[in-house]
């Protein structure tokens, strides 16, 4: 059980770092947004995994169950998921406008175009 606990944390941190790598190492703006989404999802896992109790059930109180999973991280992560999709929508709207203004969504070409304008 101790090993499994460590394994969940390691897998979550691997996903966190994969998302971070996509954000900093790839130049396409849409792919950066997808990487940001992966980063956010791994944080959800980081919150919810410690709240689980083996042998428990979902936090809906009913007859016959005494052990429930912790409902508080579920509430926080519900809010986080919806805020995440709001961020994605705004980011994509900005990317569409950038494409219409510059003609490209690759980071290198955008930086060159900005330097040339100055």
């Amino acid at each position: 059980m101790a090993f499994f606990g460590h394994f969940t944390y390691w897998a979550t941190i691997f996903l966190l770092m994969a998302g971070l790598y996509i954000v900093i190492a790839r130049g396409n703006l849409v792919k950066k947004l997808v990487g940001l989404g992966i980063f956010q999802t791994s944080v959800y896992m980081l919150y919810i995994a410690p709240g689980k109790l083996i042998g428990g059930t979902a936090p809906v109180v009913g007859p016959g169950f005494t052990v429930y999973s912790n409902p508080l991280p579920h509430v926080l992560i519900l809010t986080a998921i919806v805020v995440g999709v709001a961020t994605l929508a705004l980011g994509l709207a900005i990317v569409v406008r950038i494409r219409e203004a510059y003609g490209t969504v690759e980071e290198d070409e955008l930086l060159e175009a900005d330097v040339k304008d100055d």
Partner: protein, 182 residues
């Protein structure tokens, strides 16, 4: 035993999909892989007994996010250029950060420990008194709408603000459009 191995298998699959997303240059494939990643995440959340969160992640992550990304790809173009920089520096940064965070997780509570601090302060009160005080058996809804109602008001305002922001960015004025057409 079955639960822990199912969760472990799902996490390994999610890691493989994340690596595939990092390496693929066809953005349409990346969007489909992101949808698959969200579904795997929703299954892992359901295995962790987070029923509300799994439903929301499946609907929002695999449904709405995929539609928005496809809509944006239609307007933006779906091939990523070859990476121009050496990936060594970001890789080193990411590995060092990862190792530091792994060192930090040794202070976090163990998996499925009923004596962990998160299970002992406010949560027993929510689980025992929540259904009686609010009349609602689903403790997550009771906490979301009643005990932590201000947070949900803030979140609804955030969604509203995102909608207004996208309207402000992507709305077309009829005058400008008539002038811009050749």
């Amino acid at each position: 035993m079955i639960e822990t191995s199912a969760i472990a298998a799902l996490l390994v699959l999610m890691a493989a999909v994340a690596v595939a997303i990092a390496r693929s240059r066809n953005l349409f494939g990346v969007v489909v892989l992101a949808g698959a990643y969200s579904f795997l995440m929703a299954t892992a959340l359901a295995a962790l007994d987070a029923a509300d969160v799994a439903m929301t992640e499946a609907a929002v992550g695999a449904g709405i996010s995929t539609v928005l990304l496809l809509g944006a790809l239609h307007l933006v173009g779906s091939l990523e250029a070859k990476p121009a920089h050496n990936p060594a520096v970001p890789l080193v940064v990411v590995i060092v950060t990862g190792l530091l965070v792994v060192y930090g997780t040794y202070g976090l509570p163990a998996f499925s420990d009923p004596q962990a601090p998160i299970h002992r302060h406010v949560v027993p009160r929510y689980l025992e008194d929540g259904p009686r005080e609010t009349g609602v058996p689903n403790v997550v809804t009771a906490v979301l709408a009643s005990y932590r109602g201000y947070d949900t008001l803030g979140e609804t305002t955030v969604v509203f603000t995102a909608g207004v922001g996208v309207i402000a960015l992507l709305r077309r004025r009829r005058q400008q459009d008539r002038e811009n057409r050749p």
